[in-house]
């Protein structure tokens, strides 16, 4: 005898698929191309913020190689962002040329974000409040740890977390706006982000929707200190 319930399992499938589809996760690019989420997206709340491991792929080895702190070669945002892009960089290139120099400057923190690759994206500028077409911006990245044994990258993450009120949970991909920008002194290696050669790191979700976005691919990455 034919089992009359047999079609039921197939009929259930569309409901299960629809339920999954209504929960749109943030993009799965590791947060390296476009870290900003949009209304309607579902994002994950994460804890254990000092210990998160770097999950990105683009220029992975370069992003996890800290430059030695010493006498800084660059002491302003524009000194970094006006460097000539290194020629011939690709998805797998190690640090090269000026990327091995050291930058250290004081700037103002406007917004930060934790994309899915677990780097903190920290949007800094050179004026006490962000002013479009006046403020020079840079994205500096407080990297995820290279592995669970690391203590160096974790220390920098803790330095940054202390600056933003030591939160113990965050939602991936959602920028937090600094109502009153905080002055920071940061150090790190200039880095050309091949995923953002034309800039665009940053956010349009602060200050009433004004784009607070970088103009080219220069970052500090990884950050070696935040004070």
């Amino acid at each position: 005898m034919r089992n009359s319930l047999r079609p039921l399992t197939l009929l259930l499938l569309p409901f299960v698929l629809a339920a999954c589809a209504s929960t749109r996760p943030a993009s799965r690019d590791g947060g390296e191309r476009e870290e900003e989420v949009t209304p309607g997206q579902m994002v994950m709340v994460v804890g254990d913020l000092p210990n998160l491991i770097f999950l990105g792929q683009s220029r992975r080895d370069a992003k996890l190689a800290m430059v030695a702190a010493g006498v800084p070669n660059y002491t302003s945002i524009t000194a970094v962002t006006s460097l000539a892009p290194p020629p011939g960089l690709g998805y797998y290139s190690p640090r090269t040329g000026v990327e091995n120099n050291y930058a250290r400057f004081t700037a103002y923190l406007y917004a930060y974000n934790l994309p899915a690759d677990n780097d903190f994206h920290v949007i800094l500028g050179d004026t006490p409040v962000f002013t479009p077409n006046v403020t020079k911006l840079i994205n500096i990245e407080v990297s995820g740890r290279p592995d669970g044994a690391d203590v160096v990258f974790k220390a920098v993450r803790n330095q940054f977390l202390a600056k933003i009120g030591n939160p113990v949970a965050m939602a991936h991909g959602t920028y937090t706006c600094m109502a009153v920008p905080i002055a920071l002194t940061v150090g790190g290696g200039p880095f050309w982000d091949v995923s953002h050669p034309n800039g665009g790191s940053g956010t349009s979700s602060c200050y009433g929707g004004t784009p607070v976005k970088t103009s080219n691919g220069w970052e500090l990455h990884p950050v070696t200190s935040v004070q």
Partner: protein, 226 residues
């Protein structure tokens, strides 16, 4: 002859069920009982923050009624949190002390947007939060009573201006203020029957220290925040 492919639809169903089960969504109580999310939850990103309409149910009419008194009866956090709780339930209108006005200066430590669309604003009476010393209160910048409202929307815009005019937020995730902002806030004292023993606030700021209210007194709705 028995078809060997017969169990296949059921086997296919299993991975989808497991995938959905791994995506825990925030609780569906509209944010009125416990507004704080925890690691591993999925939360929705929302925009149009000034215009969001109140979606709560508990004492909804009372929460969307602004007090009309113009002279403050209470000028400190403790003057409000020291009041005697009224005898109210899930459906009670504003009553007794809840119709008076409170106005005081305080410091903003953290804020959150639960699913009922009220902003939960955790403020205290010391420039930085000190456990065991700071007196806390949750003041709620209410969702609009309806889409024609202009009064509640104006207060939402006042609050958004203080926190840097964000245009999007993730539901249920507290934002910590590294440097607490001095504000002056006015509103009606309100006894939250969902939090009679306090507990509004967060354990996700300042390294995880408990920053939670001690009883059910709030300002709700906030009339102004500057």
């Amino acid at each position: 002859m028995r078809n060997p492919l017969r169990p296949l639809p059921l086997l296919l169903l299993l991975p989808f069920v497991l995938a959905c089960a791994s995506t825990r969504v925030a609780p569906q109580d509209r944010g009125e009982r416990e507004e704080e999310v925890t690691a591993g939850m999925m939360v929705m990103v929302v925009d149009d923050l000034p215009n969001l309409v109140f979606e709560g149910l508990s004492r909804a009419a009372a929460k969307t009624t602004m007090v009309t008194a113009t002279v403050p009866t209470y000028t400190t956090i403790t003057a409000v949190t020291g009041l005697t709780p009224p005898s109210v339930d899930f459906y009670s209108p504003r009553t007794g002390d809840e119709n008076n006005l409170a106005t005081f200066g305080a410091y903003l430590y953290a804020y959150n947007l639960p699913k009922d669309n009220d902003f939960h604003v955790i403020i205290g009476d010391t420039p930085t939060f000190t456990a065991g010393v700071t007196n806390l209160i949750n003041v709620e910048v209410s969702g609009r009573p309806d889409k024609t409202d202009t009064v509640f929307k104006a207060v939402r815009n006042q609050f958004l201006a203080i926190i840097g005019n964000p245009t999007t937020m993730s539901y249920g995730t507290y934002t910590c203020m590294p440097l607490p902002i001095a504000i002056t806030v006015s509103g009606g004292p309100f006894w939250d029957v969902s939090h009679k023993s306090g507990g509004s606030g967060t354990s996700t700021c300042y390294g995880g220290v408990q920053m939670k209210t001690i009883n059910g007194w709030e300002l709700h709705p906030v009339n102004s925040i500057q």
